[in-house]
Amino acid sequence: MTKEQITNAHWPPETEIPNGDDPTVCPYCSFPLPDDEQLVLHVGLRHYGECTEEEKEAFRDAYVEEEKALNRFRIIALGGLVLLYFGFLIIYALLAG
């Protein structure tokens, strides 16, 4: 398996659009996406070599913007891990004591 095959052999995946939805369609591969943000990310990830400078710029912005949401999630995830760790630690300590 070459790298090319792993990333693009099975693209695009099968899609199913609910009735009444108006998808945003990728101009390069006609892949339907639910909103513009997803489209910008999709174009940047899948079509970086062929897309326009504006699209690249938009992709970079969206990618950085995404980082903010990811950071918020990471803080919550870290909180979850701490809670799990100390929660179990305390329960085991109580039982051992």
């Binding site: 792993i6 939805d21 760790y85």
Partner: protein, 495 residues
Amino acid sequence: MLTGTPIELTDDSASYSWLPSVLSIMDRVPRRVVRTVGGMAILATVLVVFVGSASAHAAALRDAAPSSLDVPTWLFLTTGGGAVGASFLLASFVTDRVFIRSLHEWGGTLPSPGRVLSGLIKLTGVVLLAFTIYVGFFGPPTGYRNFAVLFVWIAWWGGYVASTYLIGNTWPTLNPFRTIAELFPSAGLTYPERLGAWPSVAGLLLLIWIEVVSPLADDPQVLAATISGYAVVTVIGAIAFGSDTWFGTVDPLSRALAYFGRFAPFERTENGIVFRLPGMALSEPTLVSGRDEVAFIVCLLYVTTFDGFVATWLWADFALFAVGLGFPPMVVYFVSYLLGFAVFLAAFWWALDVARTYGNTYISKDELARRFAPSLLAIAVGYHISHNLGVFLGLLPSVLVVGAMPLSPPQQPPILAALPGWVAGLELAFVLIGHFIAVWVAHAAAYDLFPGRMEAIKSQYGITIVMIFYTVVSLWIVTTPIVEPPFIAGGEAPQ
């Protein structure tokens, strides 16, 4: 064996999934004792994995565990579930697409083995099959003294099958049924495409049904008869539809081992032997191609669970209740068996609904099922090794001694009665490692499918919840005391 006559099954049957009554061989090893101690060691392992850096605590716990720390079941189970949940949270920190992909792409190619070696392997497979059937019919009638029983359940199921995911799948070459079928010209019948892999799902359900309700691991003649029956069906099928179609599509055993082989670090391809990191090929988009194959993978995980579940008090209580209402015992077993499978499929389907909702995508549920189902194989692998490692090591001396004199084996073949405590710990560690790899594979598949990294993480909520729940259920089955499954064990209701 739906004859209605009660079938003899010994006390320890069906608890150690897939390898049930062989364990009655090990009456000399009080298994519940092994299990209780094992449970504690297992718990210590969970803690070591989970607590990680707090090594001082872990070491102290590990030392203290077998004697003084009395951990209630609910805590043991939630710890296992918590560890799986934690692995999801940890995986969510890895958001670098290039890094994720690089792990899955690492590998290379080695030259294939020559024809002579392949020929020798094929010959070995056929000789071993013929010998197993012969000794099964004409050898000693006691399970633990019969080479057929020991060879099939310990050497083949416990050892060889493990090699298909730990090293690589050699079954297409070794498979004696295939070697025999290929001696004959194919009848060239066209396999109905619309059936897909569904016959293999039905075949797997049937094989495990037979394994649960009949003394396959106790009675060498029943085992030999079952293998012969399987051989006849398989060889005729392979001749009718062609070997590649039969073993690539219909045969449940070949399919299961082929999936296990996708987990393995080595795989034979047209270009030679490729190598990669274990489990990392499971994220390949083309591994699973339809609902039928998704159902097979879910089934692979389910049958292991059902096999263990029938040996719990919960099942015994339920079966007694249901039979008390007037349902025939075998109907209760069979309907529950199928309903349980439906529950597993429904849980997986529900997880995909969640993935579609939180993943903010138009990708169809079928596509998501095909991409996420392979991660379950890592869990199946973890459970296989955990169920079989101790038994394999413990009974390996028996296999060797009985194998050396199969027609006049010693009265009491040697066993490794006192396995060190860490083996049980290792078994549980493998269950968790399987879950961790599964969480990672699903994470990587999500990163391949979803343009947004946040969406990729959110798409895993449902699958993570299902995995946590599954871990808790399986750990409960593994550690709960073994109860004789009612009605298939001599027809008497347990008191």
